[in-house]
Amino acid sequence: MSTKSESKKIVKKDLISLFWRAFLLPACYSMDRMQAPGFAYSILPVLKKLYGDDKEKLAEACSRHSEVYNNTFACSPFVLGIVAAMEEEACANPDFDVNSINAIKVALMGPLSGIGDTFFWGTFRIIGSGIGVSLAMQGNLLGPILFLIIYNIPNFLVRYYGVQYGYKLGTNSIETLVSGGLMNRATTAAAVMGLTVIGGMIASMVSVNIALVANFGQDVTLNVQSIFDDICPKILPLGLTFLIYRFLKKGVKATWIMVGIIVLGIVGKFFGIL
């Protein structure tokens, strides 16, 4: 490699290779260092290209990227793009403080995985599985297919454009994104969509039916379920969801709540209440 082209070594092909290698990023996940080996694995081609002839610097860079790393999977290409740009800068400019590379990585991990989880687990997946499950329940094989399509279009777009956008951002300034409030706004918007869909699905997919019919002598009966339905249909599922949410907030383990619901179902059925 000639010294002339040092300022611009990373080309689009390298970014595409980051995009592909990011798929394997979580493969060597461990409880303590999490996705660290994967991050080093994914960024390797860039490091090799930049430091290829200097074994010592390559080792240094490899170690740097073997530090603890964890993120929502789909957000990693974006971080890889930023890191690629910073490594390029570090390679070209001897005064560059390499510690800032990991500092940026760590700074991005928290907010990005928060945003990523909201978007991918909390919004896209919910919409996808909500639509998929309701079709599947009617015996329509489009259900699982639509689920995958709805979820994966944003998934792959974010991965593909993430790495390129990250690289561009890394070469200019990262602060604009973090401090501009754009990430917060986007997260809130995603949460709004997710919550609206969750609200709808509480009504369409949770069902609590009270079978109890109170009998007051001769023909005077009281159907408990119809009273609740008169107040507002599906009010019981809504109440149940919020009750469980309260329990979770108080630190009750989800497993115990699940056991509780199953016991409630069996006992309720046994006494004819549910």
Partner: protein, 255 residues
């Protein structure tokens, strides 16, 4: 039987590495796993419908950092779909067993791929210190292999040993228990939604949840309809938050 067991185990193994090489496409979710196992048993629709039931139950069980001890629902749904399709009955029982079996899968994980990948992770770090890039790459691929191989093995053994046990089990369980479980399983999605709310719900955003609820409970909108309404609301919120972006933020620490 042996061929089916092998194929089910293969599906489970491949769906399990969804996060590890396919980029988290959600083929790990019960709806997809159930459908694929259904194909093996020649009845994709039945497999899909079981998968859909389990998908609802496990709605809130997601692969987020804080939930790292979560049940291995991919393994559980593969096994239980196979059990219920293989025996042609016992959907409620299979549905109930799916979560304990998934939880057991997590235990197996702690004994196999978790410690093994820990060793690989350490090895990779050592290799990085001397710029041994080849070893780093091998560690990464071996990690992937662990994630595939052990779930594959667990499901294979589970298929061979579990199916006869399962058929015995549905004979002995009294009717009120299975129907009680079926009542419970229609309530269980509430837990899933509550778990999700932990992720994104704040008091400030509560009205949006109620809009969604009312749209379905009172107006009778479909899930697609609610998703569209949610999308419109999201755009409105995004556009209107321009000036006051600092005030509305989701508390990441609440997860």
């Amino acid at each position: 039987m042996l061929l089916k067991a092998f194929l089910v185990a293969l599906v489970a193994g491949l769906c399990k590495i969804d996060n590890r090489i396919f980029g988290m496409t959600m083929i790990q979710r019960p709806l997809i796993v159930g459908t694929l196992v259904g194909f093996i048993y020649g009845d994709p629709v039945a497999g899909m419908m079981f998968g859909a039931q389990f998908e609802l139950l496990s709605m809130g069980l997601v692969g987020i950092g804080a939930h790292s001890g979560m049940p291995e629902i991919t393994l559980g749904s593969a096994l239980c779909t196979a059990f219920t399709l293989g025996s042609g009955t016992g959907m409620e029982v299979a549905l109930t067993l799916a979560l304990p079996i998934s939880a057991f899968g997590t235990t197996i994980g702690y004994l196999t791929w978790v410690p093994l990948n820990h060793i690989l992770s350490e090895r990779s770090k050592k290799a990085a210190e001397v710029a041994d890039t080849r070893t780093m790459e091998i560690c990464q691929w071996l990690g992937l292999f662990n994630y595939f191989f052990f779930p594959f093995l667990v499901v294979l053994v589970g298929m061979l040993a579990g199916a006869p046990l399962f058929e015995m089990l549905i004979e002995v369980i009294p009717e009120f228990i299975t129907s009680g479980i079926s009542v419970a399983s229609s309530m269980l999605p509430a837990l899933g939604f509550a778990l999700l709310m932990q992720l994104i719900y704040t008091r400030k955003l509560a009205p949006y949840l109620f809009i969604g609820f009312v749209a379905v409970a009172l107006v009778g909108l479909s899930n697609v309809g609610v998703a569209i309404v949610g999308g419109i609301l999201a755009i409105l919120v995004f556009n209107n938050s321009e000036t006051q972006s600092k005030e509305v933020s989701v508390d990441v620490n609440e997860i």
